[in-house]
């Protein structure tokens, strides 16, 4: 057979249909790229179905100031994403940006927070995100239900949250109406770069595309080297508790507690190296529940109706990886923790770069996996 490049089935094949792959594929479809999404299926561990749904800025970027700016940008464009998705699908993903709190239950916790924020702020090139440090009474003005154990907290006006499961559903229906081809049960086993195109093997046959985007979460680790890239990951496990629905009492999301648009209260989110998501560490749930009810004693009245654990997609140093292959031009890798927060950047910034065939290194060069060749930077991809 004699295929030429113009007989590619697709301009771009995106591997992975979670928050990253879907948001990027939607952005590509929006620009008229013939795009498919190949997803392994429901057996996979998928962070996109297990997360806490914060669109979170405060405390992000210690060790990599560019990450702060990137996150602030996402916070500022989330409403554009939710508006476009609503116009296209009719689904309201309930994005809200009232600002967010982080509460401290001891003077030491507050002091630690203050110090880490100062270090973050003092980094060269740091973006100012207008964080305030508040004492108990100041917090109480905004969060009237806090308990006496709350000594204070931090507030950042750029923080928010969204119904992330509904976003995932909405972006999948948007993919459909945009003509992006979503193919579930297509686990990719190998990728070859030949004659300027990518031949992607799945159990359901071969798919050919001019460009390939790896957005397979932690599995990028094993796929990346097939196209001359790398994605060193160290996944962690997080647990979440959910209460029964109650009348709205919490006007702001917190790092560890938020009330959803439908009234449930979510309590998160722990961090362990252990990565079996079929079991839970109950003592950790107990600590999370106890801290939550010290913050808001009225939570004592509510039953926990669900709990789960999920595996975070976690680059080794906690910061996003966006990279392009030198040996296989047209191959890209994308992965990050905080894929909810960064969804608009993936749709509106990363997708156009991929459509052009080149990452804009001035904007995202800091996130190249080449940083792992140098001395390890100190990690702070978390909250």
């Amino acid at each position: 057979m004699n295929h030429t490049q113009s007989t590619n089935e697709y301009d771009v094949a995106v591997i992975g249909g979670g928050l990253l792959g879907s948001s990027i594929a939607w952005g590509l479809g929006r620009l008229g790229q013939r795009t498919c999404v190949l997803d392994e299926g429901d057996v996979t561990k998928r962070a996109s179905r297990a997360n806490f749904a914060l669109v979170w800025v405060q405390s992000k970027g210690l060790g990599l100031p560019e990450y702060t700016g990137w996150t602030v940008r996402a916070s500022e464009t989330w409403s554009k994403l939710s508006d476009e998705i609503k116009a296209q699908t009719g689904i309201d993903v309930c994005h809200q940006r009232p600002g967010g709190f982080h509460l401290a239950l001891s003077e030491k916790e507050l002091e630690d927070r203050r110090l880490s924020l100062r270090r973050l702020h003092n980094q060269p090139g740091a973006t100012d995100y207008k964080i305030e440090i508040l004492d108990h009474d100041e917090v109480k003005k905004q969060l009237p239900h806090i308990g006496p154990d709350v000594v204070g907290g931090t507030y950042c006006p750029l923080d928010g949250h969204v119904n992330s499961l509904r976003y995932l559903r909405a972006i999948h229906s948007a993919l459909k109406t945009s003509g992006v081809d979503y193919r579930p049960e297509h686990r990719v086993s190998t990728i070859e770069h030949r004659n300027g195109e990518f031949k992607i093997s799945t159990e359901q046959g071969e798919i050919r595309a001019g460009k390939v985007v790896l957005a397979a979460g932690n599995a990028n680790m094993t796929l990346a080297h097939m196209v001359g890239l790398k994605a060193p990951m160290s996944p962690t496990r997080g647990q979440i508790l959910v209460t029964e629905r109650t009348v709205p009492f919490l006007g702001f999301p917190l790092t560890t507690i938020r009330q959803t648009d439908e009234g449930t209260v979510m309590i998160g989110d722990s961090r362990e190296e252990f990565i079996d998501d079929t079991v839970q560490n109950l003592p950790i749930n107990a600590v999370m529940a106890d801290r939550a009810r010290r913050m808001f004693p009225l939570l004592n009245q509510l039953n926990i109706v669900r709990t789960w654990s999920g595996i975070r997609v976690m680059p080794k140093d906690g910061f996003p990886i966006y990279d392009q292959s030198e040996t296989c031009p047209g191959a890209f890798v994308t992965c990050c923790h905080s894929g909810v927060t960064l969804a608009p950047n993936h749709a509106f910034d990363i997708a156009p770069m991929i459509a052009k065939g080149n990452l804009d290194l001035e904007r995202v060069g800091a996130f190249s996996a080449r940083r792992f060749d140098q001395i390890q930077v100190q990690s702070s991809g978390y909250y």
């Binding site: 009225l298 509510l302 039953n303």
Partner: protein, 99 residues
């Protein structure tokens, strides 16, 4: 709509539903007592969409019988027997909690 079987001879139990006195029978569940007392319909409104609902399975499965009993919301009326002096309020949407 619901009528008691005529051979139901259990002793009376006094409860209140939304502040009104209701005479139930020993062995009634809260849901059965509300349904047979001819209380104002609907039985409740759901938490998210506010749609009217009534007990459906009467055996603990569907959660369509949620009521507030003695100040505690979201209780399954179909599983809880009435007792003298019980204070029942029906839920108009999400569970309320006290601050």
């Amino acid at each position: 709509m619901f009528k008691r079987a005529t051979n139901h001879q259990e002793p009376a139990v006094q409860i209140t539903v939304d502040g009104l006195p209701v005479t139930a029978r020993r062995g009634d569940t809260v849901s059965a007592a509300i349904l047979t007392a001819g209380c104002v319909e609907p039985y409740r409104y759901t938490a998210v969409n506010g749609t009217p609902r009534a007990p459906y399975c009467m055996m603990g499965v569907c959660f369509d019988c949620l009521v507030t009993i003695d100040g505690i919301g979201n209780r399954q009326g179909c599983l809880i027997p009435v007792s003298d002096g019980m204070v029942i309020t029906r839920q108009n949407g999400k569970r309320e909690i006290e601050s």
